[in-house]
């Protein structure tokens, strides 16, 4: 029987099936187990083992000395994948199958290589996928970081096309522009820009295009579409140009400088108010000088007419004199205003409550007008240190102005409240407690272009105005260490805020003036640089029973007093003018006279009602004081009060 004849078809079919199915099994171990078991039943074979080099899971080769072994390496391209070890009981019976087994094992080696290649490919793909995942994660992280920086910065970041249309904006845009970012895309900066800034903003783009600028910066105001709030931005812009030198892309960063801008505006306002104060001081000196002289002249006129009226028996003459006195009264009011805001206008402050005093003043000014008024004043309003006359003057002025602003009728609202100011909270006021009184009208408001001038002296929009009203108010409040602020919306009205430092005391009840009469005798020394004043004073004092000696300056008065002392001649009383241009005034004169030991009652007169000497004459050696111009009755009242008291004590 030939070798071919001894081959079993069944065994060959088995080998063929094993070949077909080997590739189906997932791994080398599974294939080898399958093969070894499938071949074990072949002719002349007792067992088939496999051995995988360098694999600890490979079954150990069993020693089998009783049989012959033949090994088939599963090797391809110099790689040994495994050895198939056939344990033969009958090598001759196996011999015909050797070529088939050899072919089979060669094919298995190829299958293993393919599997190894596939595993390698799978491993490489897995590694690649892992790297892709890692890289994707890195990129995602990097992108998230970038987005976090872009979105979390407090600056506005935008990218725009060559025409300035937004392509990208970070979330800050929503806060500044008042629209969702998506709604801003496609819009341009001008859509959110304050109209006053259009020209400059337009110029930035055209200037960059014209001059091929790569970088520029500018400031603009942006309007929030939702809240109408204005944000000041400082833009830093980079331009990218295409090959034809046209702007292709614009990258810009905008920093919010609203706080800085507001601080600058506050500072500017402060500077303006400081200038205002300085201007008022200069003008005050000038106005005060003129007013002083004018007031003296007025005093003479006033006194003479008063005397003439007293002596008149003709009703018509008396009526004319009364009208003349009324006219002079108005002139006196004007000079008083000038003097008040001039350097001598120190307020005579007393602690008290602003209300109901202010309410009474307002109602009085508005009485008979077509302006309604309302008040909102808390019960616990703090008391203030204030000069009632001066603050009354302020309220008078404000209400008169408001009334004139509402000539066709309207409403005036007066509100008051306690406020506590911190450091630098108000440009002119120190930190502390204040009372704020606001006078709000519904008039036409103050045009923007003149609002900075309304506190200037001699500035008036009224044909008959003398321009001292608000200047005086400002001056009065400055001397009270307070402030006068204004807010106005043209077409809607104005509100003036009077701010006065608060005090803790309660305003005492006012003393009531009582009609007095006085009769005296003896020598009365008067000193005044104005002849008319000397004359009228002499007349008034003589009518009260005194003989009068008059001097024109302080030195002459001292000399006279000295002479009288030497001669033993008694002076019953003295009345000195406080200020003598180019000469010794009343203050210096009384100092020397008192130094001479003369205790005669001495009075001081001045147009500066707020002068400390007028307010507290006894501190300067005087017995009493009187404010020019004055009527005879006022002089008599003062003499009655002090001369008789002194006489009584002597």
């Amino acid at each position: 029987m030939s070798g071919i004849e001894s081959l079993s078809e069944k065994i060959l079919a088995r080998i063929a099936l094993l070949q077909s199915m080997a590739a189906m099994l997932p791994n080398m171990k599974s294939v080898l187990e399958f093969i070894c078991q499938g071949l074990s039943d072949m002719a002349g074979i007792t067992r088939v083992d496999y051995y995988i080099p360098d694999n600890k899971d490979s079954p150990a080769q069993k020693k089998d000395n009783s049989s012959t072994r033949i090994s088939f390496p599963l090797k391809h391209n110099s790689i040994l994948y495994a050895d198939l070890v056939f344990h033969l009981a009958d090598p001759d019976a196996f011999e015909p199958y050797k070529p088939y087994i050899s072919n089979f094992t060669n094919m298995l080696a190829v299958i293993f290589e393919q599997k190894a290649q596939r595993e390698l490919n799978t491993k490489l793909i897995e590694e690649l996928e892992q790297r892709v995942r890692e890289r994707t994660h890195e990129l995602q992280t990097s992108k998230e970081m970038y987005e976090e920086i872009v979105q979390k910065t407090s600056d506005l970041l935008v990218t725009a096309d060559g025409n300035g249309k937004f392509i990208f904006l970070n979330r800050v845009a929503e806060k500044i522009f008042g629209l969702p970012v998506e709604a801003c895309v496609g819009a341009s900066l001008l859509d959110f820009t304050h109209p006053d800034d259009y020209p400059e903003t337009n110029e930035v783009l055209s200037n960059a295009q014209e001059n091929h600028l790569e970088k520029t910066s500018f400031e603009s105001r942006q309007i929030n579409k939702k809240t109408k709030e204005i944000t000041h931005l400082l833009w830093t812009v980079n331009f990218q140009f295409d090959n034809e030198d046209h702007i292709q892309v614009i990258h810009a960063i905008a920093h919010d400088i609203t706080v800085r801008k507001k601080a600058e505006e506050e500072h500017q306002k402060y500077e303006q108010q400081l200038q205002q104060t300085q201007k008022l001081e200069s003008l005050g000196i000038l106005a005060g000088g003129i007013a002083h002289d004018f007031n003296n002249l007025m005093g003479g006129l006033y006194g003479y007419i008063d005397m003439a009226k007293e002596g008149s028996t003709d009703a018509a003459v008396t009526s004319h004199l009364e009208k003349a006195m009324n006219t002079i009264e108005r002139a006196r009011s004007l000079t008083q205003q000038l003097l008040t805001f001039a350097k001598g206008g120190v307020p005579v402050k007393k602690t008290g409550n602003l209300f109901p005093f202010i309410e009474e003043t307002v109602r009085f000014v508005l009485s008979g007008s077509n302006v309604s008024c309302s008040f909102s004043v808390p019960d616990e309003l703090w008391a203030c240190n204030f000069d009632k006359n001066q603050i009354g003057q302020v309220i008078d002025n404000l209400v008169i102005n408001a009334k004139q602003a509402m000539s066709s009728g309207g409403s005036l609202t007066v509100t008051a409240g306690n406020i506590v100011l911190g450091e630098k909270e108000h440009p002119l006021l120190a930190a502390g407690n204040y009372v704020k009184v606001s006078v709000k009208d519904t008039g036409g408001g103050i045009p923007k272009e003149i609002i900075t001038k309304i506190f200037d002296p001699f500035f008036s929009t009224k044909a008959a105005g003398h321009g001292l009203g608000l200047a005086t108010c400002f001056s009065i409040l400055t001397r009270h260490h307070g402030s006068l602020d204004v807010e106005s919306v043209p077409g809607k009205g104005s509100v003036f805020h009077v701010i006065i430092p608060a005090a803790q005391a309660i305003y005492p009840a006012e003393e009531q003036r009582t009609e007095q009469c006085h009769r005296g005798s003896g020598l009365f020394l008067i000193m005044d640089d104005e002849e008319v004043m000397r004359a009228i004073l002499s007349t008034m004092l003589e009518s009260a029973g005194y003989s009068v000696t008059s001097t024109t300056n302080g030195q002459d008065a001292i000399n006279f007093a000295n002479q009288c002392q030497k001669e033993g001649k008694k002076i019953e009383g003295m009345l000195f003018d406080l200020t003598v241009p180019g000469g010794l005034g009343g203050k210096a004169a009384i100092e020397q006279i008192r130094a001479m030991g003369i205790t005669t009652p001495a009075f001081v007169a001045s147009g500066y009602a707020d002068d400390p000497i007028i307010i507290n004459p006894e501190l300067y050696g005087f017995t009493g004081s009187i404010c020019k111009p004055f009527m005879k009755a006022e002089l008599i009242e003062m003499l009655e009060k002090h001369m008789h008291k002194l006489e009584g004590t002597r």
Partner: protein, 207 residues
């Protein structure tokens, strides 16, 4: 009980096999398995056979769609008992035990019912899960398969047993080959050269 042997088409190959053939499909490609299964069941229904499918890896939805695409109503066939779909676990591992006797009885009853219902033939396709190796009674898997061959002699249900080469070991796959007379390899039905007649196989087991 015997019947006149006739040939049936399997659907996935042009070859015909005798009714009651016990075949084994070892697969490593899931798509290949699904396609074989679907075509096998479809052809059975198209030739009015009674068909049963025991698989954890095919859904009613898949079957419904596939049958519908080929003009067969799933609901109709199910309602007249021509179609039965169950999960492998539900049929093979009742109460968590693999019981060959119970399974053989089930197959025998299935055949008898088919006969009484008037079906000209019946076919089954079952997917064995590797979990059988860890299930009580699982060591009797090959005994069961061998006895199926004997059962089908008198109760000719055309049967395909599916084994996943990726989940069973190479040694188990070789043992499985020994208890199936026919193999389906690359879509072709072949006589299995490793097949061992059940009486001999079972005797060897007993020995």
């Amino acid at each position: 009980m015997s019947q006149i042997q006739s040939m049936v088409s399997l659907g996935f190959t042009e070859e015909k096999v005798p009714v009651g053939t016990h075949m084994c499909l070892v697969f490593s490609n899931e798509q290949e398995r699904i396609q074989s299964l679907l075509k096998y069941l479809l052809l059975g229904l198209q030739t009015n056979e009674r068909v049963a499918c025991f698989s954890n890896n095919i859904t009613e939805k898949e079957l419904r769609e596939y049958f519908s695409e080929n003009g067969i109503s799933y609901d109709e066939r199910q309602s007249n008992n021509a179609l039965m779909l169950s999960g492998t676990s539900e049929v093979y591992f009742i109460d968590g035990v693999f019981d060959p006797d119970r399974m053989l009885n089930t197959l025998m009853q299935y055949y008898k019912d088919s006969q009484s219902m008037g079906f000209p033939a019946s076919r089954v396709i079952g997917e064995m899960m590797s979990e059988v190796e860890h299930t009580p009674g699982g060591e009797r898997l090959l005994e069961y398969e061998s006895r199926v061959t004997i059962l089908l002699r008198d109760h000719p249900i055309t049967t395909i047993c599916q084994y996943d080469a990726n989940t069973f070991s190479g040694a188990t796959i070789m043992e499985v080959l020994k208890v199936h007379p026919k193999m389906i390899v690359n879509g072709v039905v072949i006589n299995n050269p490793f097949f061992v007649e059940p009486e001999e196989y079972l005797a060897g087991k007993r020995a």
